[in-house]
């Protein structure tokens, strides 16, 4: 094959690889020369909370209308890459979630951190994020609370997403109340609460 022919064949092969790969993950071309002392390392995204591995944060059992529970959780970021954070959760059960009011308030602990999930010393952020009071990020039913990252609550609000940096932490106070509705009788629900950090 002539030289132009070999070049053309190479281009066709590369094109075929691009098509076959489809909407996939591409390794970038890279080139470099290495010399002693030169390094490239990836940044990190790392988020944690103070629950110490505990599972349940909120609960009520055999509850009557007006039953409430509340708890606080401190979420801390230690990644090297600036990240946005969203809140969401997974709901299961027989439909009680539509009769439970959930309020999430963002803030901080003044003084020493209490043990999980106490709210001693909790102080709400001054900003009224959603028009429901200082620091309130969410006020609605458990059913309407987002179920995935795509629909998650942007911390602290979609109009002013925060880029978390290493060493940053925030406290979230979660409060639940059972509505007065006889349709809720005998129903139940389980709920997880997730904070996900992404660097893009």
């Amino acid at each position: 094959m002539s030289r132009p022919g070999r070049i053309f064949a190479t281009m066709v092969a590369l094109s075929a690889l691009a098509v076959a790969g489809g909407p996939g993950t591409w390794a970038s071309f890279s080139a470099g020369t290495s010399t002693a002392g030169n390094r490239a390392t990836a940044g990190t995204v790392d988020i944690a909370d103070n629950d110490g591995g505990a599972t349940a944060m909120l609960s009520f059992s055999g509850a009557l209308p007006g039953a409430t529970d509340s708890g606080c959780i401190k979420v801390s970021y230690s990644g090297s890459l600036g990240s946005s954070v969203r809140l969401y959760g997974t709901t299961a059960g027989s439909g009680l979630d539509q009769y439970i009011d959930l309020k999430i308030t963002r803030g901080r602990f003044t003084g020493s951190d209490p043990s999980f999930d106490a709210c001693t010393g909790f102080e709400a952020d001054a900003a009224d994020y959603v028009g429901a009071g200082a620091g309130v990020m969410y006020s609605g039913t458990l059913q309407a609370f987002p179920d995935d990252y795509a629909n998650g609550l942007i911390d602290p609000h979609s109009t002013s997403p925060e880029s978390w940096s290493a060493g940053e932490s925030h406290v979230y106070k979660l409060e639940v109340t059972l509505r007065s509705d006889t349709a809720a009788q005998g129903k139940d629900a389980t709920q997880s609460f997730t904070w996900e950090a992404r660097n893009q």
Binding site: A18, T25, T55, L58, L64, G93, L142
Partner: protein
């Protein structure tokens, strides 16, 4: 590498990049999660039934003079210095036409079972020896329920003019709140000296829905000679003809004073564990003297703890210049727990604008609280 090779390689790279971007490639982001799982919630299988109780204040303290005096329902408590004395003497022998009769106020929620119903009573003669026996009846129809004792075998007798004899009588015929709310107790009396007899307590106690209650006799019919019926003043409005008004002991000041008030205490009827508690206060009052203006405002207490103030010295709940009672109905949002509903006291402050103290008295025809709850 020749210039052709460089140019060709660059074109290949550019082509590859163009193909990759035109193919809509998704790049993965670094991410991390944290959180909690396992929060659990369950609702009771039944939220209960909405219920309502209505009761007058039976405990009344009158501080219109600046010093509290007991003006409570006489049948409420034994040994409180408040007693009912028949207007005339009773005969030496029992007569079906000679008795003291008392009815319950409709207070308890309807349709509930009652256990351990008991009539609590005491009596004494002014002189001589008094004896009693008793019937229970339905107040609405006067239908006989049961007889306790008889003319031949009285329930009890008392020869002491200074000490009351207490009679506690089980009432197995009172099996529901419907009966308890509609209960009439007719006590036939004799007196060997043909003198008056006195009663210091007359209540029906029991439990409903697991909660103890006490229903005082709020109305008394005295047939010792000319029959008359006296209602507890604060139980029903518009019953002045049945001695159903309370007249303040003294005239009020021209301005409100913290030491001058009427204090109304209510009985406890809301069961433990009840939810959705709410309360409304009804007060009917009037000026005692035509052409004078009486005003009032009030405070709400859980025992000795102030819950709320309704109206004020500068903005009273209302005023009236009428001698016909006017009624104010005021919601009490501060009363929203069982404890607050069962330990409720209202302090009503009044003033009157007349120049003469004696003309500044007030009349009170109703003082009830309606409590809603679910259980």
């Amino acid at each position: 590498m020749s210039r052709l090779h460089v140019l060709t390689l660059g074109a290949m790279v550019a082509l590859a990049i163009a193909l990759a971007t035109s193919g809509g490639v998704t790049w993965s982001a670094f991410s991390a999660t944290t959180g909690t799982s396992g929060s659990t919630f369950s609702a009771a299988s039944s939220f209960g039934t909405a219920r309502q109780v209505v009761t007058p204040a039976y405990n009344l303290r009158d501080a219109s003079s600046g010093t509290e005096s007991n003006a409570s329902l006489s049948a409420l408590l034994a040994g409180d210095g408040m007693e009912f004395k028949s207007a005339y003497g009773f005969p030496a022998d029992f007569s079906t036409a000679e008795y003291l009769q008392s009815d319950s106020f409709v207070s308890l929620p309807a349709g509930l079972a009652v256990a351990d119903a008991t009539h609590n009573y005491n009596f004494k003669p002014t002189s001589g020896t008094a004896c009693i026996y008793m019937e229970t009846r339905r107040a609405s129809t006067d239908a006989l329920l049961a007889t306790h004792g008889s003319a031949a075998n009285p329930l009890a007798c008392n020869s002491s003019a200074t000490s009351y004899t207490t009679v506690t009588t089980a009432l197995p015929e009172v099996t529901s709140t419907d009966i308890a709310n509609d209960l009439r107790v007719r006590t036939y009396m004799t007196n060997t000296a043909l003198t008056t007899n006195s009663v210091d307590i007359s209540t029906v106690t029991g439990t409903q829905d697991g909660t103890a209650f006490s229903l005082p006799s709020w109305t008394v019919t005295d047939t010792s000679q000319i029959a008359y019926t006296a209602n507890w003043a604060l139980g029903r409005s518009g019953d002045q003809s049945s001695y159903g008004d309370y007249l303040s002991a003294a005239g009020w000041d021209n301005a409100f004073a913290s030491t001058k008030y009427l204090k109304l205490g209510f009985p406890a009827y809301v069961p433990t564990g009840a939810t959705g508690v709410s309360a409304t206060f009804k007060h009917a009052y009037a000026s005692n003297t035509t052409g004078t203006t009486t005003c009032w405002y009030f405070e709400v207490y859980n025992g000795a703890t102030l819950l709320a103030t309704h109206g004020s010295a500068s903005a009273p709940v209302s005023c009236t210049s009428s001698t016909t009672p006017v009624t104010d109905t005021v919601a009490l949002p501060s009363v929203d727990t069982v404890a607050e509903a069962n330990n409720l006291t209202i302090k009503a402050y009044l003033k009157n604008d007349n120049s003469k103290l004696a003309s500044r008295k007030s009349r009170h025809d109703l003082g009830t609280v309606t409590i809603g709850y679910t259980n």
